[in-house]
């Protein structure tokens, strides 16, 4: 298979972002051009038209998660949704207590919002994960205190695709009278989510991870049993029931709604197809590349996300050899911080394997040919780089790398 017969370069980074679906773009365009009303304008048809479109989009999101449309607050994206959920609840409930529970492998938008609250005098418990990337409901139960106001656990991890026991945690939180927030950016549109059945009180969503536009997100805020109240983080005209002021990005919101509709209607077949492709990729790599290690639980995992380490090969150099393939690495060298992935380290992976990791995410446009091409290229590049790797040579000579005194720099 040559690359010319495939889409070049191959995109296997759908967890980072997705292309905009053409059908989504089509419904957005009129709201840029002639349907340009402000959804908050109550005095004329332009405003009513925009408001109707926004309400329709709200319904599409709500339907996808079994919520009421009134429970959807539009935001600029999931980072804002996470900030609004965590800071908004902490600020509103500040008389009730100041303890929050979250997980060490959360997205930075959650962790940094929690760190900010710690500087404001709140207390945060960061639950550790096991070597599969999972937490248990018992861990959450043990961490809940008298003054706990919020538990925030991501639905599925962005780096590994590992899915946490959300329904169990939701049930526990409701029993104990603690609000439950989940960052569902990666799971939304890819697996069934039911906020009622799962007892979710707040949930962060993003449009561009489901083939919608960038710069649009939503926060689900439960209205009944319990009614969740938030302190807004952006003040102004009182839009979005006072939760989030600012003129709505009407074309973006409309696109988000359409993207949600398509995701909901195609979820069963699409997720099955994507799951098969991921398993094809995983089994090929596991069978054809020695010392290829899956990171994170196989069973509790999003259909399209794969994270694997290729021991004795550094991730950035591997990516460099795969320059016609768009994937990401947990290697320090690919991050600004020069630290390897904190998510993988939290799972107990040693630094060397964290440096050697690749995240591959399969999506709507991925074909089997592409997956086969990627598997071939990874196998070939890992072999080439291992020939160049002093670690590989030592291992071949029967040397145990852990017995060597290295010179860290």
């Amino acid at each position: 298979m040559t690359l010319e017969t495939l889409n070049s370069p191959i995109y296997l980074d759908y967890a980072a972002t997705c292309p905009l679906d053409q059908r989504v773009l089509d419904v957005m365009i009129p709201y840029f051009t002639h349907k340009y009303g402000n959804a908050a304008s109550r005095t004329h048809a332009f405003g009513w038209e925009a408001e109707a479109a926004v309400d329709n989009a709200r319904e599409e999101i709500a339907k996808t998660i079994n919520a009421d449309p009134k429970e959807i607050t539009w935001t600029s994206g999931a980072t804002e949704s996470n900030n609004l959920a965590i800071k908004g609840v902490a600020e509103y409930l500040h008389e009730q207590g100041g303890h929050i529970i979250t997980v060490i492998t959360e997205h930075k938008a959650v962790l940094d919002a929690c760190k900010y609250l710690e500087r404001q005098g709140k207390e945060v418990t960061y639950l550790p994960v096991n070597n599969e990337g999972l937490i248990t409901v018992e861990q959450v139960a043990a961490a809940i205190r008298e003054d706990t106001i919020l538990v925030s656990v991501m639905f599925a991890n962005n780096e590994t695709g590992v899915v946490q026991p959300i329904a169990e945690i939701g049930e526990l939180c409701h029993e104990r009278g603690v609000l439950f927030h989940t960052d569902a950016v990666q799971a939304f549109g890819k697996m069934p989510i039911d906020v009622k059945a799962m007892n979710i009180d707040l949930m962060s969503l993003s449009a561009h991870k489901i083939y919608g536009p960038k710069g649009v997100g939503a926060l689900y805020v439960r209205r009944r049993r319990p009614r969740v109240r938030l302190s807004p983080q952006i003040h102004g005209g009182g839009h979005e029931r006072g939760n989030r002021s600012g003129t709505l990005n009407v074309p973006g919101v409309v696109g988000f709604g359409e993207a949600a509709r398509i995701a909901r209607e195609t979820m069963a077949t699409e997720s099955a197809r994507i799951f098969e492709l991921r398993e094809h990729l995983r089994t090929r790599l596991a069978n054809e590349v020695p010392h290829a290690i899956l990171n994170g639980s196989l069973e509790h995992r999003l259909p399209g996300t794969l994270n694997m380490s290729f021991a004795y090969v550094e991730g950035e150099s591997l990516l460099m050899g795969l320059k016609d393939i768009a994937i990401s690495s947990g290697s320090a060298c690919t991050s600004a911080s020069l630290e390897p992935s904190y998510v993988l380290r939290a799972m107990g992976l040693d630094d060397e394997l964290a440096h050697s990791s690749l995240r591959m995410t399969i999506g709507r446009l991925t074909t089997k040919q592409e997956v086969d091409y990627v598997a071939d290229r990874i196998r070939e590049q890992v072999e080439r780089l291992r020939e160049m790797s002093p670690l590989w040579e030592m291992v071949q000579d029967g040397i145990d790398l852990s017995t060597i005194e290295w010179t860290p720099h």
Binding site: M320, M388, S389, P390, T407, H409
Partner: protein, 130 residues
């Protein structure tokens, strides 16, 4: 990260990948770095009458680390060990146009050649020197 053409060239066609007999009297071996830091370099030199006649490397690390070690093996061949010892990381970084976050790769390559020379010298200490 955008790589310079020279880094890409060394990465795609690394010079002098391989190993020399580390037990040989005329071979000096330097291994620097740590797997946990994401780079380990092994650089070996073969010396005849104070002149480096062959050099080999193996590197676990990013493209810039591979390029830095590949470049150094090219440079030191035919050089006296005294001269090779004077190679500075800044020369490597300049030649490869390494960005600031990759300077440590050139530092590692400098350390590697120095470690290899030290190993060779220790193996070949003349009785008068010791």
């Amino acid at each position: 990260m955008a790589y310079s053409n020279k880094v890409i060239d060394h990465y795609e066609q690394p010079r002098n990948v391989g190993s020399l007999d580390k037990n040989a009297e005329d071979v000096g071996t330097g291994i620097v770095g740590a797997p946990a830091c994401g780079d380990v370099m092994k650089l070996q030199i073969k010396v005849e009458q104070g002149v480096i006649t062959d050099a080999k490397f193996k590197t676990y690390g990013c493209g810039s680390a591979i390029a830095s070690s590949s470049l150094v093996t090219e440079w030191v061949k035919g050089m006296s060990i005294d001269k090779a010892e004077e190679i500075k990381n800044s020369q490597i970084a300049e030649e490869l146009s390494l960005p600031p976050v990759k300077i440590h790769c050139s530092v590692l390559a400098e350390d590697a050649i120095k470690a290899a020379i030290k190993d060779y010298r220790e193996k070949n200490k003349s009785p008068t020197e010791s």
